[in-house]
C-alpha cells in the first residue's frame, strides 16, 4: 500500500500540489445480529483503497479509489490536483496549515483477544443464550443481541515527511428486549442502546459484559414499562446515568466545540454553534462542577489514537474548565484560522474514501466525588433517568430534547416508582448551569458511540465519552403536547 501512496504523492506534487497527504486503509468488519433463536444477519466486510488530499493554489482537492494499481495512484494524484485547482476558482481565503512535527511511527490499540480469531460459533452462542432467555418472557415480542467488530489498518504519508501506520480494533455488543401491548412499544437495552457498548478493545470487552446475566432483568423491565406511569411534565431535579450523560456531552458540548462548526464550515448541513471564537476563556458554559476534556490519549476509547488522519499527534486538551469555555477541537486548517499554534489533532475520516473532518476524540466530563447513591441521597423529589433513547438539538446546539428508556422517581433520596417515556428539554448553557454534582472515579466509564454522523458525503464516526452519573437542578421534564 505504501508504494501506491508514494506514487500518488509524487504525482500530486508533480502536478503542482504545494502540500499532499495520502492515506490508505484496509478495514475489516463483522456485524452479527441474533433475534431469539435465529441469526438475523451475519455480514463480514473488507474495504481496501486509498485517497489523496492536496493543496494547490491555496485550495483543497481530494480523490479516492479502490483500484490498487500504480496507474491509478498516479491518476489519483493528478486528479486531486485538478480538483484543487477547480476549488481555487471559488475561494476568498487561501488555506494555511499550522505546523506539525514530522512523525514516523507505528501504533496499535491494545487488544487482549483478537475478535477476528474467536470462532463465529462462540459469538452466535453467546448472543443466542441471551436472546433466547429474553424471549422466554412471553410478554417480550423481540429479544435481540448484536456484536460488531472493526479492525482498521491505515497508512499515512505526507509531503512533509510523515510516515505513520496505525492499527485500531474496536469491539461492541449489546442486547435489547422489546415489549408491545395495544400499540405501545417499550424497549430496554444493556449495556447501552443502539447496539450496546463499544470500546477500543478486543473480545475481552464482550466477555466482560455478561450479556446473558442481564437478559432476564432487561426483559422484565421492558414488560414492566408497559404498565408504568408516564414521566410527568414538571420542573425538577434530574439525575442522569452515565449512558445518558454521554449523549448529553456528545450533543451539547462535543459538537458545539468543533471548530469547523464554530467557523461556519458545516452550516448548511449539521449546523453551526452557539459559541464563537470571541467566547474563548470568557463564556460560562455551565456550573463550576463542569470540567470537559477532549482526550485521544486515554486507553480504550473509540476516540483513542496516536495520530489523527492528517498526521497530528493525538492530545488531551481542556474544552471547559470549572464551567468556562477554554478550548475547541481543531484541525491544522482551523487552528490557523483562529490563530492557534498547533492543531489539537481531531481530524478523522470514516474510511479511505473520505476527506477527514474534525471529529470528537473522547470528550469527557471529568469525575467528581461520591457514588450514584450519594447523588440520589441529596434529592428530596426528582427523577433518575437511564439509557439514551432519543435526541434532537437545534442547528446551533442550544435547544435540545433528549429521551431515555426508563426512569424512576426519587423520593427522599431513594428510588421509587418506575416511570416510562422519560424526556427532558433544555437550553445548553442553562442546563449545564444546573449541574451540581458528578459522581466519582468509581462510577466513571468511557462509553463508545459508534454512530456519530457528520459531513457531506455523510460519514459515520466512532467516538468516545468518559462520563459518570450526574445531577442537574431545575430541569424541564416530559414532552409539551
Amino acid at each position: 500500500m505504501k508504494d501506491l501512496l508514494r506514487e500518488a504523492l509524487d504525482a500530486a506534487l508533480g502536478a503542482g500540489a504545494t502540500y499532499a497527504d495520502a492515506r490508505g486503509g484496509e478495514y475489516l468488519s463483522e456485524a452479527l445480529s441474533v433475534r431469539g433463536p435465529t441469526v438475523e444477519s451475519l455480514d463480514r466486510t473488507e474495504s481496501i483503497g486509498f485517497g489523496v488530499r492536496v493543496l494547490a493554489e491555496g485550495a483543497w482537492g481530494f480523490a479516492s479509489s479502490a483500484v490498487l494499481t500504480s496507474d491509478e495512484a498516479k491518476h489519483l494524484g493528478a486528479t486531486a490536483v485538478e480538483v484543487a485547482k477547480a476549488s481555487a476558482t471559488a475561494i476568498n481565503e487561501r488555506v494555511e496549515l499550522v505546523p506539525e512535527p514530522v512523525h514516523v511511527a507505528e501504533w496499535s490499540s491494545p487488544v487482549v483477544r483478537d475478535p477476528f480469531d474467536i470462532p463465529l460459533e462462540d459469538k452466535v452462542s453467546l448472543l443466542a443464550g441471551a436472546t433466547e432467555s429474553m424471549e422466554r418472557n412471553e410478554a417480550v415480542r423481540v429479544g435481540r443481541g448484536t456484536m460488531d467488530f472493526i479492525r482498521q489498518r491505515t497508512a499515512f504519508l505526507s509531503s512533509e515527511g510523515s510516515d505513520i501506520t496505525q492499527t485500531v480494533v474496536h469491539s461492541g455488543a449489546g442486547i435489547e428486549a422489546t415489549s408491545v401491548r395495544d400499540g405501545e412499544v417499550q424497549t430496554r437495552s444493556y449495556p447501552g442502546s443502539f447496539r450496546g457498548h463499544f470500546a477500543a478493545a478486543g473480545y475481552e470487552l464482550v466477555e466482560s459484559m455478561d450479556l446473558a446475566g442481564h437478559a432476564d432483568r432487561i426483559a422484565d423491565e421492558a414488560v414492566a414499562l408497559l404498565s408504568a406511569p408516564e414521566c410527568p411534565s414538571t420542573v425538577t431535579t434530574v439525575v442522569l446515568d452515565g449512558h445518558q450523560v454521554m449523549l448529553q456531552v456528545h450533543e451539547s458540548v462535543g459538537h458545539p466545540t468543533e471548530l469547523d462548526r464554530v467557523l461556519g464550515m458545516e452550516a448548511a448541513f449539521a449546523g453551526t454553534s452557539f459559541v464563537g471564537i470571541p467566547d474563548l476563556n470568557g463564556l460560562r458554559y455551565g456550573s463550576d462542577r463542569m470540567n470537559i476534556t477532549a482526550d485521544a490519549t486515554i486507553p480504550g476509547g473509540l476516540g483513542s489514537y496516536a495520530f489523527d488522519d492528517e498526521g497530528v499527534e493525538g492530545q488531551r486538551v481542556d474544552l471547559v474548565k470549572e464551567g468556562i469555555l477554554v478550548g475547541f477541537q481543531s484541525s491544522r486548517e482551523t487552528a490557523a484560522r483562529m490563530g492557534a499554534d498547533r492543531s489539537n489533532g481531531t481530524m478523522r475520516a470514516e474510511g479511505w474514501e473520505h476527506f477527514p473532518l474534525i471529529r470528537m476524540t473522547n470528550i469527557n466530563l471529568l469525575p467528581g466525588e461520591g457514588s450514584l447513591e450519594d447523588l440520589l441521597a441529596d434529592v428530596d423529589d426528582g427523577i433518575y433517568m437511564s439509557t439514551n433513547k432519543s435526541w434532537s438539538i437545534d442547528d446551533k446546539r442550544k435547544n435540545f430534547q433528549f429521551g431515555c428508556e426508563i426512569a424512576w422517581e426519587i423520593k427522599n433520596g431513594k428510588l421509587g416508582r418506575m416511570l416510562k417515556d422519560p424526556r427532558y428539554t433544555g437550553i445548553t448553557p442553562v442546563f449545564w448551569g444546573g449541574l451540581d454534582a458528578v459522581a466519582g472515579k468509581d462510577e466513571w466509564q468511557v462509553w463508545g458511540t459508534p454512530n456519530c454522523g457528520k459531513g457531506q458525503p455523510g460519514q459515520t464516526m466512532r467516538v468516545g465519552h468518559g462520563t459518570a452519573p450526574a445531577r442537574f437542578r431545575n430541569v424541564s421534564t416530559g414532552t409539551a403536547q
Partner: protein, 457 residues
C-alpha cells in the same frame, strides 16, 4: 478526469455479470447471490462563500451471500477481482455454517417466481461525466446569485450502477445519475434555504435555488418571539419530505408491522390521514431517482402504502411476504435486521398553488424545512425536531414577519389527518446520508401542528 466506461457508467451490465459469475457456483454452497454496485461521484462543498472541500470518489462494492441449507450469511469486498470475490464467498460460507437454523429463510428467488425487472436507467451521461471544473463553475454561479459573504451548501454529481446475480438465475442491472445542490444564505443570523435535485444536471437550476435562499434570508431579519402552541401551518416540500421520510422509516416496512412497532400493526385498513393524502413507493415516478429492483433482484412494485388516507399495504421483501402470505413488493433493504424499506417515497401532488396554500391561513406558520428530526414514539408516529432557515408568521393569507425557530412535537399521522390542501408542484429531495433513493413531496397546508417550544434564533 473520468473512470466511466463507454456506456457512461462506472460499471456496465457485462462487467458486473462477469465478476459475479466467478463465484456463483462456489464449492460447498447450495446457492450464491452477488450484489454489485459501483459509483463515480464528485461533491463540492462550500461555506463562508468559498469552496472548502472538494472530493472525487470512485467506488466498487460486491456483497456475496452464500446459502447452505436454511442458513445464509454475506461478505462484502471493495475489490472486484476473482481472488477477492472468492475470498468473500469463503468468508460468507464459513459464517453461514456457523449460523443457526433459520426456518423463515425464503431461499434465493428465481426469475420464474418473481419475474424479471425492467430497468429504469434514468441516466444522464453528461451528469455522470461532470468534471470538477464544471462543479466549481456551478458553485460560482450560486455565490454570484446570492451576493452574500456567508453562503454554504453543496453541488454534487454522480452516476451509480447496481447489479444482482444469483445461482438461481437472477440477472438484473440498472443505473441512475443524480445532480443535487443545496444553498443556505446567512445574512447576519437571518438565514434562508433553497435546494434542487434531479437525475440530470441540466434540470437542476442552482441559481434559482440560491435566489430562493437569498430571498428567504432577506425576509428573516428581525425575527420575533412567538408563543409555542398548536398552529395552522404551511409546510414547504423539504419539510414535508422530512416528515414523510421518518414516517416511512417508522412504519412502512412489513418487518416493523410484524414486530408490532409500526402504525400498521394496529391501524391497517383504517383511515390514518386526510382523503387527499396518497403516499406510494414508486421508483418510476418521473421525479424519483433509483433502480427497478431490490437487493434480492425482485422487481420493485409501485405500492400505495397510504391510499386516499387509508393505511393499505406495507412494503415487503421475500421473507416478510412469505410470513404474511402475500407477493413480495421488491423492497429488500439489503439487511435482514432492518427488513424491507421504501427507498423512493412519493407523496402525490394536489391541485393547490403555494400562494393558495398560504392564502388559506388566517393566522399560522410557514415552515421552510426541519432540522435534526428524531423519533419519540414509533407506533404513534410522534416526532420532534426544529424548524430552520425560514420560519414565518402567516397573517390573513400573507407571509408576515419572521419568527424564531420552534421545536415541534407532533404525530405525523395526526398532522396528515388535518391536511387541508396539497400543493400542485412536487419536488425531488435527495437523501442526506446516502446516494441511494429519493423522496418526492409537495407543500401542504396542515390544520393542526404542535410547536412545543421556541429557541432564540
Amino acid at each position: 478526469m473520468s473512470v466511466l466506461s463507454r456506456s457512461g457508467l462506472p460499471l456496465d451490465h457485462d462487467d458486473a455479470r462477469r465478476a459475479a459469475q466467478g463465484v456463483l457456483d462456489f464449492p460447498g454452497s447450495e446457492g450464491v447471490e452477488v450484489v454489485v454496485s459501483a459509483s463515480s461521484s464528485g461533491i463540492t462543498r462550500y461555506a463562508n462563500s468559498q469552496i472548502i472541500q472538494n472530493t472525487v470518489r470512485n467506488e466498487i462494492r460486491a456483497t456475496v451471500r452464500v446459502v447452505t441449507g436454511d442458513r445464509s450469511a454475506s461478505a462484502t469486498t471493495t475489490q472486484l477481482d476473482e481472488e477477492h470475490l472468492v475470498m468473500a464467498a469463503g468468508r460468507a460460507l464459513e459464517a453461514a455454517k456457523a449460523s443457526l437454523p433459520d426456518p423463515d429463510f425464503p431461499g434465493l428467488p428465481t426469475p420464474g417466481d418473481v419475474g424479471r425487472p425492467e430497468p429504469v436507467m434514468r441516466v444522464d451521461e453528461a451528469t455522470g461525466a461532470t468534471p470538477p471544473a464544471a462543479r466549481a463553475e456551478a458553485v460560482g454561479r450560486i455565490l454570484a446569485a446570492t451576493g452574500s459573504d456567508n453562503t454554504a451548501g453543496i453541488y454534487e454529481t454522480g452516476v451509480h450502477s447496481y447489479g444482482v446475480f444469483s445461482s438461481a438465475g437472477i440477472d438484473c442491472f440498472d443505473a441512475f445519475s443524480r445532480c443535487n445542490t443545496t444553498c443556505l444564505v446567512d445574512l447576519g443570523g437571518a438565514t434562508g434555504w433553497g435546494e434542487a435535485s434531479s437525475y440530470a444536471a441540466a434540470e437542476v437550476d442552482e441559481e434559482a435555488a440560491a435566489l430562493r435562499a437569498r430571498r428567504k434570508a432577506e425576509r428573516s431579519h428581525n425575527a420575533m418571539d412567538v408563543d409555542s402552541g398548536t398552529y395552522q401551518v404551511v409546510l414547504e416540500p423539504p419539510a414535508v419530505a422530512a416528515l414523510v421520510d421518518y414516517l416511512a422509516y417508522m412504519g412502512f416496512g412489513a418487518k416493523q408491522m410484524i414486530e408490532g412497532e409500526s402504525f400498521f400493526s394496529t391501524r391497517r385498513g383504517e383511515k390514518v390521514a386526510a382523503d387527499s393524502i396518497t403516499i406510494t413507493d414508486d421508483v418510476r415516478h418521473p421525479a424519483s431517482v433509483g433502480i427497478g429492483f431490490d437487493f434480492e433482484g425482485v422487481p420493485k412494485q409501485r405500492v400505495a402504502v397510504i391510499d386516499g388516507g387509508e393505511a393499505t399495504h406495507p412494503v415487503t421483501d421475500l421473507r416478510t411476504a412469505r410470513k404474511l402470505g402475500v407477493p413480495a413488493t421488491g423492497h429488500f433493504s439489503g439487511s435482514n435486521e432492518f427488513g424491507p424499506y421504501p427507498f423512493n417515497v412519493v407523496m402525490e401532488a394536489g391541485d393547490t398553488e403555494l400562494d393558495e396554500l398560504i392564502g388559506g391561513v388566517d393566522d399560522g406558520i410557514l415552515v421552510t424545512r426541519f432540522h435534526y428530526v428524531n423519533i419519540l414514539d414509533r407506533p404513534a408516529t410522534l416526532l420532534t425536531g426544529m424548524t430552520r432557515d425560514g420560519t414565518f408568521r402567516i397573517s390573513k393569507g400573507e407571509v408576515a414577519e419572521p419568527v424564531h425557530n420552534f421545536r415541534f412535537a407532533q404525530s405525523v399521522l395526526d398532522a396528515l389527518s388535518s391536511v387541508q390542501a396539497v400543493g400542485r408542484e412536487v419536488v425531488s429531495i435527495a437523501p442526506d446520508y446516502s446516494s441511494f433513493g429519493s423522496t418526492v413531496a409537495p407543500a401542504l397546508r396542515v390544520g393542526k401542528f404542535h410547536f412545543a417550544s421556541t429557541t432564540s434564533h
